[in-house]
């Protein structure tokens, strides 16, 4: 299945009772198979923007277009079943086993039991969890990292063409986080899923993104590849953001990654 194309056209969102837009005049496109990171501090509107794609947040102005179709013209339930959704708190269903959690969307779509069982084992292996050991485990018995792996598996179980991730690794410890980031890159490139990833962590953004969308108070500051962001920041704000902290290491990392990318392209 071809990866989805997502476009934001002058999107604006205002929460009731607020005096300013949470998201204001945002326009950019995601190409099929890209991993785009929404980067910014808390309150910049990145999560709100993410959730307009699967209609968990209603739009006040503009359009969100998925594969050429305005999302408001689509049935929200069907739309969401075709788009993976991973959140920081994971939200695994506590009364279901790991396998049952992963099976949620496939069973909503009417897959057979054997199709589901096969897919569950496939996904557990894909996210690096031994199927026999984890299939019947309860969410309460999982570590933070394990839980989020299951969360990712659950999100991609029905082979969605797009994936929305809202600071998915924020609650995971630092060591596990690095492993998960690496795995995520591998998984989404294997599955060719268009991914929109929200974070406030600059290094995470640089590690994962094909392109980064820097946001501040509801508006887009810049949309660019990590390298371009680093070398040619569009505004002082972006410059201070990407050069903050350990930017020597970051410089090497960005260039190294760019080299790898061009080498494997």
């Amino acid at each position: 299945m071809k990866a989805a194309q997502i476009a934001f056209e002058s999107v604006a969102v205002r929460y009731p009772g607020s005096d300013r837009n949470a998201v204001d005049g945002v326009s950019f496109d995601l190409h099929g198979g890209e991993l785009v990171v929404l980067l910014g501090p808390s309150g910049c509107g990145k999560s709100t923007l993410l959730r307009t794609v699967n209609r968990l947040v209603p739009l006040d102005e503009g359009r969100v277009v998925v594969d050429g179709r305005d999302v408001t013209q689509l049935d929200p339930v069907e739309l969401r079943r075709g788009i993976g959704y991973v959140i920081q708190a994971v939200g695994l269903f506590a009364h279901m086993s790991v396998a049952q959690n992963i099976a949620v969307v496939p069973s909503l779509q009417g897959w057979t039991a054997s199709q589901i069982a096969q897919r569950v084992d496939e996904l557990l292996a894909l996210v690096g969890l031994e199927p026999a050991a984890y299939r019947n485990r309860r969410p309460s018995k999982l570590s933070g990292g394990e839980a989020q792996r299951v969360g990712v598996a659950r999100a991609i179980a029905a082979r969605p063409r797009a994936l929305l991730m809202d600071e998915p690794f924020g609650a995971v410890d630092v060591l596990a986080r690095t492993a998960l980031q690496r795995e995520l890159v591998r998984i989404v490139s294997e599955l060719e899923t268009t991914t929109l990833f929200v974070t406030h962590d600059v290094d995470e953004a640089f590690r994962l993104a094909d392109r980064i969308v820097v946001m501040r108070t509801g508006r887009v500051e810049q949309v660019a590849t990590p390298l371009d962001l680093f070398d040619q920041p569009a505004t002082p704000y972006v410059r201070d953001l990407v050069h903050a902290g350990d930017d020597v290491y970051r410089r090497y990392f960005v260039h190294a990654r760019e080299l790898l990318r061009t080498a494997s392209a």
Partner: protein
């Protein structure tokens, strides 16, 4: 204990009719309270008002309410049945609301985001996790109802209350003891059974 020993069949028969009264009233009460609670749980402005009203009804002395119902419905099974259904609403609806609202909001968000319709979120995610709390409410309601149902002996000739009120009128303490003991035994048995059910519906904590 002597009345109990001398008339075991009579006490047993009254215990059965007592249980029948409470059982049927509980079933009908659930039929009303569960949808009511589910509806209110989603609405933060409605829930306190609803539970407040039901709570106020609960504080009406049962004998007074029963007297009004006897006026409306006559003697027998009906007035005590209606009173029981009404009293149970508070405990049941309150636990439905609490159980649903206690469900982790992240799970509800994830469920919606993955593509469950609102009824599916309710039935597949919220209700199963609210069930232990609901059964807890059923347990509390059942025990309260077993007690309140003794008033059925006053106006309806139903249940173990017959022994208690007859015993009072006839100045036969043994009858009162028999009726009270049997009602206690019923309450303990029902409590134990429902605790078991409650425990069974909690998500299992054993590792896979």
């Amino acid at each position: 204990m002597t009345y109990l020993a001398a008339h075991p069949a009579r006490v047993a028969a009254l215990a059965v009719s007592h249980l029948e009264l409470v059982g049927v009233a509980l079933a009908v009460a659930l039929f009303i309270a569960v949808p009511l609670g589910l509806w209110a749980a989603r609405r933060p402005n409605v829930a306190p008002w609803l539970l407040g009203t039901l709570g106020a009804i609960y504080t009406i002395p049962s004998l007074a309410l029963l007297a009004v119902f006897v006026e409306w419905f006559g003697l027998g099974f009906t007035p005590i049945f209606v009173a029981l259904v009404l009293y149970a609403q508070f405990m049941l609806a309150r636990n439905v609301v609490a159980g649903i609202n206690d469900v982790d909001r992240a799970q509800v968000d994830a469920a919606r985001g993955l593509g469950m319709s609102p009824p599916q979120v309710l039935l597949r995610v919220e209700f199963p996790q609210a069930l232990p709390v609901l059964i807890g409410g059923v347990r509390i309601a059942a025990i309260a109802m077993i007690s309140i149902a003794t008033l059925g002996g006053y106006v309806g000739g139903v249940g173990l209350g017959v022994l208690i009120f007859n015993g009072l009128t006839l100045h036969q303490p043994q009858m009162i003891v028999a009726g009270s003991l049997a009602a206690c035994a019923l309450a303990i048995a029902v409590d134990a059974t429902l605790r078991l059910a409650e425990a069974k519906t909690r998500p299992s904590t054993s590792s896979g």
